[in-house]
Symmetry: C2
Subunit: 366 residues, 2 copies
């Protein structure tokens, strides 16, 4: 009997979570998965209720659960709070405490939504790119960090970007293995592009060397290339289909995965997984809490619904149930249903729907 | 009598510099500017000749000169060299030693080249965006840095991202002032977007606070907004025309300025200026040394030619001469001349030319 902890969070979190839970309950029944759902507090709502962005109780229940489904955290309401108590701290803390070092973000173009992108159709047609981002190290967690007063009276802020060989190997392995799995499924050759700034930063020089050594020692069947972060950011725009799996550190991964998502024009569609060494994971949409549209039934619930599919696939090995959800999503898109973020007003035959109508349409397909 | 030091560097550096020097000599004569040109070594060619990527002699002459015109540095030939001796170190050192803290990169769409971009025409039509990047601080120069062996025998790489209030104010001032100048010229309201990752990094929290204080104290006539780096990377793709001036630190600036350049589809067209506190500067194309096409007369010399125009404008206050160059470049584009990087093979009436033919065509217009 497996348990899933749902953490709706802030902004549009509760609305999208409601729809995702409906979908999860439906496949739970249909495929007799035997999953039990619990809910908990994180982010701003947790601050309001307990004073902490990640209450001990939530953390304890997340540890006990087999998987976590997260909505989104943060909003202007909590911007003025002292740094250590802000909603984002809850997110960073749960990632760190659960050891969720491997963040998988897929940038996939839904053919039904090709027009929603700012990119020309031929550049992105068929795009299906996986970014493997290291999530519990690098400059996000590095010490020392802070803001201090210098002798001359002015202030100085500082952070430390740090990676050890073992941290690099751990995430490198995930990238190489996933490249092999993806290549096998697609009948293509496996390839990984490792992104660094080794011409400037020593920490990423170690990153680059370590990736090279791993490839030579254990992954001679995977083609490894290296790219500087600035160039990678350009190449994603120029020719994103040159990539299959990209692997990089926490900060470059934050930037590049958002960029890749935006290429598809539909960040409201993209799920993510954050996994620990045993494959236990937290699943969440790539988009944020969108406080400007919260509570207006405008949000797109599909990224969260697709995060449920990812959870069933990666943590519970329920491929059939995962595919059933993905199929249902594809069908509602085929039917022309669109939340406002993916609506192309120049296209005929589309119907604008709210968060709830979209979620229930997916449910009806199951 | 003013002196310009030209540093051609590596890869395509010498070819593009030859064309840029021809153009510079021509306006020097036409506008009786009285400029004297010298040349020196930097990057890989300097390593080959002296063992150092920035020989003392080059640095001394750069200090003595009124402006520096740089081609590009680096290439696979020098990849194996010890880090402190690589070509890129020469570039970082000259930036640091000359105090060139303000890097200005303009992402401007040439209407003649609108089709060269991966971005849909309506998203980028009329794009003219200035990125102000801090160039002598942040994680590029922060200490401590290095790769060390830990007690457990594994290696650890580390770098430090650091900014003090005075460094932030210095670059902030450049951004606010340029926003006012640009707004005046365009007859619009001045606006600056400051890019940080204040939700995670203390150093950029100080950045954000300092920008806010400056705006409140001295620039209430400039609208200031803040954006996280990951979101900025997305917004540049979604709607780049929402920005006018963006200001950010060294590393985010490296990534975002390359991204912005790629939006125009013609990084071979984009010049940059790196200025010190007195307005003395180093001018260089935004693109790199492109070793794969070096020596084949394929490179686009226009970014370097336009860097000459920027130099005349910013360091020598010769607006008429600067405009004459920009006008000449625009005319050769109107004539349909294209180097391969900006050639749209689906467009009729274009003529593919090499580096030299392009340079000489600009010269002929002057
Ligand atoms: C909210 C923020 C702390 C977070 C991050 O930077 O990791 C977000 O941008 C993400 O990518 O999940
Ligand atoms: C070559 C490299 C050191 C340099 C940088 O990162 O600053 C380059 O990418 C640039 O943007 O000028």
């Amino acid at each position: 009997m497996a348990t899933i902890l749902t953490l709706a969070g802030d902004g549009i979190g509760p609305e999208i979570m409601t729809q995702a839970i409906d979908v999860l309950e439906a496949v739970n029944k249909k495929f007799a998965l035997g999953l039990t759902l619990e809910s908990g507090l994180i982010g701003g709502v947790a601050i309001d209720a307990t004073g902490e962005p990640l209450p001990d109780e939530t953390l304890a229940r997340a540890r006990a659960a087999d998987a976590v489904l997260l909505g989104a955290v943060g909003g202007p309401k909590w911007d003025g709070i002292e740094r250590s108590k802000r909603p984002e701290r809850g997110l960073l803390k749960i990632r760190g405490e659960l050891g969720l070092f491997a963040n998988l973000r897929v940038a996939k173009l839904y053919p039904q939504l090709a027009n929603a992108s700012s990119i020309k159709p031929d550049i992105i047609a068929g795009l299906d790119l996986l970014i493997v981002r290291e999530l519990t190290g690098g400059i996000y967690f590095g010490e020392p960090r802070g803001i201090r007063t210098l002798e001359n009276g002015e202030q100085q802020g500082y952070n430390t970007m740090v990676y050890s060989t073992s941290e690099i190997k751990r995430i490198g392995k995930v990238a190489f293995e996933l490249a092999k799995t993806r290549a096998e499924a697609a009948g293509t050759a496996a390839k990984v592009c490792s992104v660094d700034k080794a011409n400037v930063l020593e920490v990423t020089e170690l990153w680059k060397q370590t990736m090279t050594q791993m490839q030579q020692a254990d992954y001679s069947d995977v083609a490894l290339s290296h790219m500087y972060a600035d160039n990678a950011c350009m190449q994603l725009i120029k020719d994103p289909k040159q990539f299959d799996v990209m692997v990089t550190g926490n900060m470059f991964g934050d930037i590049l995965s958002d960029e890749a998502a935006m290429l598809t024009g539909s960040i409201g569609m993209l799920p993510s997984a954050s996994l620990d060494e045993a494959g236990k994971g937290m699943y969440e949409p790539c988009h944020g809490s969108a406080p400007d549209i919260a509570g207006q039934d405008k949000a797109n619930p599909l990224a969260t619904v697709l995060s449920v599919a990812m959870m069933l696939r990666y943590t519970f090995k329920q491929e059939a149930a995962a595919q059933a959800i993905e199929q249902a999503v594809s069908e509602v898109l085929d039917d022309g249903l669109r939340t406002v973020d993916i609506l192309d007003s120049s296209e005929a035959g589309l119907k604008q729907v709210g968060c709830q109508e979209m979620g229930q349409a997916v449910l009806a397909k199951l």
